[in-house]
């Protein structure tokens, strides 16, 4: 296999990792005001992703860096072309990251409410805009002969891309609800499970419509297979979400449900990449000469070889120690685990 194809697959893998891992982070963030009835419950929700959200976000940074190293043309065209959506995403990620770290630094309800809004905004915006961005990449955008994007902001907001945004939104919400059910005990777990059922139906409908439209435009066999598998996993996960747990009659089979939504997101992203190949950014102006492909956007074989060695050595290591982190923090948490002094209301102090 050509090294440029290997790197196309690796970048696909990095985005799969990013969406599977940050998918539930975004879900938890967006559901904060919905599932978190009081301060204690909101704390429980935030702490389900507390130790891991930062490491999850690095998947995006690495995917960006890998695009720069392996396909500089792709990196340059996408990031200068999708300027305003990317600016919004960056804004959201800044606010969300600071909010996680700062919201508990003052015991003041007003202070916390403001940061909560930042978390919701910072989770909602990327959850929608990543779907919009990837739909546009698969669909193609107006690129001139220099591979520069020549459309406007509203070119990116076409109905197909908006449906893509809706799909990622619904998927991440479901994924997040299932994750909360998997990581908590008590009342909040029950409510998360019930919410996941309803959100799941929306996710199935949106994903089926979006992937169906994608494949109707241009279908490759691997993309088709991956899309069908994604749908099966999603439905399977939602069915598992209704089955009672073997050892806890109050709970459901959350482990299987989470595996289902995670696999569905992974396969759906993989399907998009499979549908895109061998293009990396098709041009709608002159698809033959102006499109960016794996061949004309890649770095030199020497650079790809060096980067392949680095990736082969370090990717398994990263998977290993990130997996260990999830193992260390595997226990469910509930409202009784939140230290008392953090939630006892105190008069606002400067």
């Amino acid at each position: 296999m050509e090294l440029s194809t290997v790197w196309f697959l690796l970048i696909a893998l990095l985005f799969v990792g990013y969406f599977v891992l940050e998918g539930f982070d975004f879900g938890v963030g967006m559901l904060l005001p919905v599932l978190g009835r009081d301060e204690r419950e909101r704390r429980v929700m935030i702490n389900t992703i507390g130790p891991v959200w930062d490491g999850n976000e690095v998947w995006l940074i690495t995917a960006g860096g890998a695009m720069f190293a392996a396909f500089p043309e792709w990196y340059a065209s996408v990031f200068s072309g999708f300027y305003l959506p990317l600016l919004l995403i960056l804004l959201a990620l800044i606010l969300r990251g600071v909010a996680f770290e700062y919201r508990g630094k003052r015991n003041d309800p007003v202070w916390r409410r403001r940061w909560d809004r930042c978390i919701v905004f910072g989770s909602f915006v990327p959850a929608v805009l990543w779907g919009v961005a990837f739909a546009n990449i698969v669909r193609g955008v107006p690129l001139d002969a220099d591979h520069d994007y020549i459309g406007g902001f509203f070119t990116l907001l076409n109905p197909y891309a908006l449906l893509g945004g809706l799909t990622t939104l619904a998927l991440f919400l479901t994924h997040g609800a299932v994750f909360i059910a998997l990581k908590t005990v008590g009342d909040i777990r029950q409510r998360a499970n019930r919410l996941a059922e309803r959100l799941g139906i929306a996710a199935v409908l949106a994903a089926a419509l979006f992937l169906g439209l994608t494949l109707a435009r241009r279908a490759t066999t691997p993309a088709l297979i991956l899309a069908v598998l994604a749908a099966l996993c999603l439905v399977g996960g939602l069915i598992a979400n209704r089955l009672p747990s073997r050892d806890d009659p109050q709970g459901r089979r959350e482990g299987w449900a989470f595996a289902g939504t995670a696999a569905a997101i992974a396969l759906a992203v993989a399907s998009l990449f499979a549908d895109l190949y061998p293009f990396v950014l098709p041009s709608t102006v002159d698809p033959v000469t102006n499109s960016l492909t794996v061949a004309n956007a890649s770095s030199t074989p020497y650079t790809l070889k060096i980067m392949t060695w680095v990736a082969v050595i370090f990717t398994p290591l990263v998977l290993l120690y990130q997996g260990w982190t999830y193992w260390v923090f595997r226990k469910r948490i509930g409202t009784q685990h939140i230290p008392e002094e953090l939630v006892t209301p105190q008069p606002a102090t400067r």
Partner: protein, 469 residues
């Protein structure tokens, strides 16, 4: 303003902003790791208190460094797409390595350290903070290797067909002599800031909150002051070597640092100048004869090229054009960098003198100048970077690509104004919030680390988390 100027302002503002938090992060994590090691080895609770106290300040600062860093990763593609296309084959490699090797390490193990206080065995928990510390230096190394390639491109060739830079030797890029000297200089700068912060906070508590946790703060004051002093020594040593390498690979930057218009042998170094800097002679200046020659060449009567000669030489080599950076800016940032760093070291020396043999500082002036102790080196770090980056203009890749040709042709002035306004405003607000939080937690005393009293009803399963967001 045109698109190039806006994109330059944006990169300048966001990078300087990012580098306000980076030095403290890099320096402080090592000191926190050292405090925790002292606790694990001696069992003395004062070290545990210091670990938790400065660990909290570290985390407040880390959050800002992290989120401002995300912007940098994408700004190359957003605002500088022509540059990204030209250098991607070479420049992308260290950037991707940084993420894969260092960012994952830092972020994952920091999560383990923050939340792992009672979940991990003591020594493994200690190992986590050391891994974070190593990760911060690794990431500094990769990003500085990438930057050094722009200052002194090596290990590449230009593809005649595509007109792009292609990597030919990754080892040459990673062992670029500019990178090898910039890394220790930058890391020493980080310790200068962190040492200053630790010393300033500790002395403040010693004087203003006398009687509480005196032993702990006394140790912290000494460790902080010594860190600052040793770091300043390392700054001078590495800065001197860096100056000689700079004279060799970027002579224009060295000439601009001194505003030396005509080549001289030997060349003096002016400490302070009042006068016109447009090429006419200074009105009044304090000069040290031969020092610039020594800084640039290692000999007191070495020849240092002047700006006018270099301008002429570059015109012959690269065609007509302006090859001078902004001279007043390079002249003064160079002096501020050195002067402010030295002032911080003097304050640290004063602290060591005032705390000798169990004494508590009594000078009101010393206490009043404490806020300056971390701020002076912080500003010195910024001016040092502004000198490095502005001194290389008009090039973005020295000798290969001019800044004026590097921006994104399809990004309009309207977009740039929007993003510049958004980042500047948001960063400004966040900076105010962060400084307030830092002050709040720096003023609070050391935390109580005695083990919590077990409540009867609580089973082990239901014990509250040792740390919760």
């Amino acid at each position: 303003m045109d698109a190039i100027e806006l994109a330059r302002w944006q990169f300048g503002i966001t990078t300087v902003y990012h580098f306000l938090f980076v030095p403290l992060t890099i320096g402080l994590v090592w000191l926190v790791a050292a405090f925790q090691t002292a606790w694990v080895r001696t069992g003395d609770e004062k070290w545990l208190k210091l670990t938790k106290f400065f660990g909290k300040l570290f985390l407040i600062n880390f959050a800002m460094g992290l989120v401002t860093g995300i912007v940098q990763e994408f700004q190359f593609g957003m605002n500088w797409s022509e540059y990204s296309r030209f250098v991607g084959d070479v420049f992308g490699a260290p950037l991707a390595m940084e993420a894969l090797v260092a960012f994952f390490l830092e972020s994952t193990f920091l999560g383990l350290w923050i939340f792992g206080w009672e979940k991990l065995p003591k020594k493994i928990h200690l190992a986590c903070i050391w891994i974070v510390a190593v990760g911060t230096v690794l990431s500094a190394y990769f990003i500085l290797a990438a930057n050094s390639w722009m200052q002194n491109p090596v290990g590449y060739r230009i593809d005649q067909a595509t007109g792009r830079a292609e990597l030919t030797d990754i080892v040459a890029v990673l062992t670029n002599k500019v990178a090898l000297i910039t890394v220790p200089h930058t890391i020493a700068g980080c310790f200068l800031v962190a040492g200053g912060l630790v010393a300033a906070v500790a002395v403040w508590h010693l004087v203003r909150r006398a009687g509480t946790d005196t032993a702990a703060f006394r140790s912290a004051a000494k460790i902080g002051a010594w860190t600052t002093l040793v770091a300043m020594g390392a700054m001078l040593l590495t800065g001197d070597i860096q100056g000689k390498i700079m004279t060799e690979v970027q002579p224009m930057k060295m000439a601009a640092a001194e505003a030396l218009y005509e080549s001289e042998q030997p060349a003096p170094f002016s400490v302070f100048t009042v006068g016109t800097l447009d090429g006419s002679r200074p009105v009044w200046s304090v000069e040290i004869p031969g020092l610039l020659s020594f800084l640039g060449t290692g000999s007191f009567d070495g020849r240092v090229e002047g700006i006018n000669d270099l301008q002429h030489e570059y015109e012959q080599k690269y065609g007509p054009g302006e090859y001078k950076p902004n001279i007043p800016l390079t002249y003064w940032t160079f002096r501020l960098m050195i002067g402010l760093g030295a002032a911080a070291a003097l304050l640290a020396l004063w602290i060591l003198w005032a705390t000798r043999r169990g004494r508590t500082p009594t000078s009101r002036w010393l206490v009043r100048s404490l806020p300056l102790l971390p701020l002076l080196p912080l500003v010195a770090n910024s001016t040092g970077w502004i000198f490095t980056e502005m001194g290389r203009q008009p090039w973005v890749v020295f000798g290969e690509m001019k800044t004026a040709a590097a921006n994104s042709p399809n990004v309009s002035v309207g977009y740039l104004v929007t993003s510049l306004a958004v980042f500047t405003l948001l960063y400004g607000v966040l900076a105010v919030i962060e400084v307030r939080l830092l002050l709040k937690y720096a003023r609070a005393g050391l935390p109580d680390v005695s083990p919590p009293v077990e409540k009867e009803a609580e089973s082990d399963e239901d014990r509250p988390l040792a740390f919760a967001y």
